[in-house]
């Protein structure tokens, strides 16, 4: 058997193994796995928000304004840390919406996005007493759960 035939044989075996794995275990897992035991104290799993709290939270979108205008959670308030934004406007908007006492859940682009945590800290600093959380997995978790909507709002 020459080298090319050997290479083809190796590739064929690998492809067969891949196909078998796909057939037995299904497509790759795209949902964000959230283990409550491994969460940081201020984080929350999407599953808890949607099941235990029935989604009754004030969503805060910490992504750039363009993203928030394009898509996101229905009714989500915008609060990011972009230089072009007015932080006092964000404060006033969110303070008014926190009056009825909902929990607040902040999301941004992914689980590594530190902006969610910084925004959450600013919301806590309003001292309104509401529980404020950072969504584990952020935007990726919401998309995987098919909870986001397209808006085209301006």
């Amino acid at each position: 058997m020459n080298a090319i035939a050997q290479l083809v044989a190796v590739l064929t075996i690998s492809a067969a193994a891949t196909a078998t794995t796909y057939w037995i275990k299904g497509p790759p897992e795209r949902a964000v796995r959230c283990d409550p035991a491994k969460l940081k104290p201020d984080e929350v799993c999407l599953e808890r928000v949607m099941n235990e709290w029935q989604g009754r939270v004030l969503w805060v979108d910490a992504r750039p304004r363009g993203d928030w205008e394009r898509n996101g959670m229905a009714g989500a308030a915008l609060w990011n840390l972009e230089s072009s934004e007015n932080m006092q406007t964000f404060e006033a908007d969110i303070a008014g919406r926190m009056l009825d006492g909902p929990r607040v859940v902040v999301y941004c682009n992914n689980e590594d996005c530190g902006i969610s945590r910084q925004v959450a800290e600013r919301i806590k600093a309003l001292q309104l007493g509401n529980e404020v959380y950072v969504l584990y997995g952020g935007w990726r978790a919401l998309v995987a759960a098919k909870l986001t909507k397209d808006f085209h709002r301006k």
Partner: protein
Amino acid sequence: MRIAISCWLALAGFLQAGGLTFEKEVLQIHAAADAGSVVADFNFQNNTDQPVTIAKVDKTCSCIGVEVSDGKLVYAPGEGGQIRATFDMQNFSGVIDKTVVLWLDKDPVEKPSVTLTVEVHIPVLVALKEKTLKWSVGAKPETQKIDVLVDYTKPIKIVTTSCTSDNFNVKVITLEEGKHYEIAVTPTDTKEPGLAIIRIETDCDVKRHQILQAFAVIRRELPPLP
């Protein structure tokens, strides 16, 4: 068979992400009170035996500008470079963390190799000890106060205050001119829930400390959450 294995290993080699070693991945910067921006330089070296390519650089905020050593993206073994992050502070005070994320070679989108953090300490020249004053619906409309402390080399005076609701009386009490004030807030009544924004204007020469904001809230007791 040896040729096939060599080919296989060569292909597998492409999947290996290279690495850059940074002197520091977290930099602390203490900014001047009136600084508009600060610069953080992250020095790195390619300590591997293969060239490393910076495939993508992402910043988590439009308030950061990022430059990679004169735009050079490929680093030979032993070669060093610098990532310069410039942070525009106009909207910030206190301690702020900002990150710059680097994808090297064939890093997957969800797993960048490097996250650099700039921890900027921006002096808080005028601090409101209380951000929100709260009354329960039906409670006695007692006066509550916001403590305003100045921490600056020059005195900072409160020039005016305003409130978005007629239901609250707002009065400035000077404890030490330019240094220490109290804002006394008294609701006319607490029959209905509501929120008022109290704006406090100062004569501070640093723009981000010229207008401060606090809240006065009359709210029902929060219902027990499930």
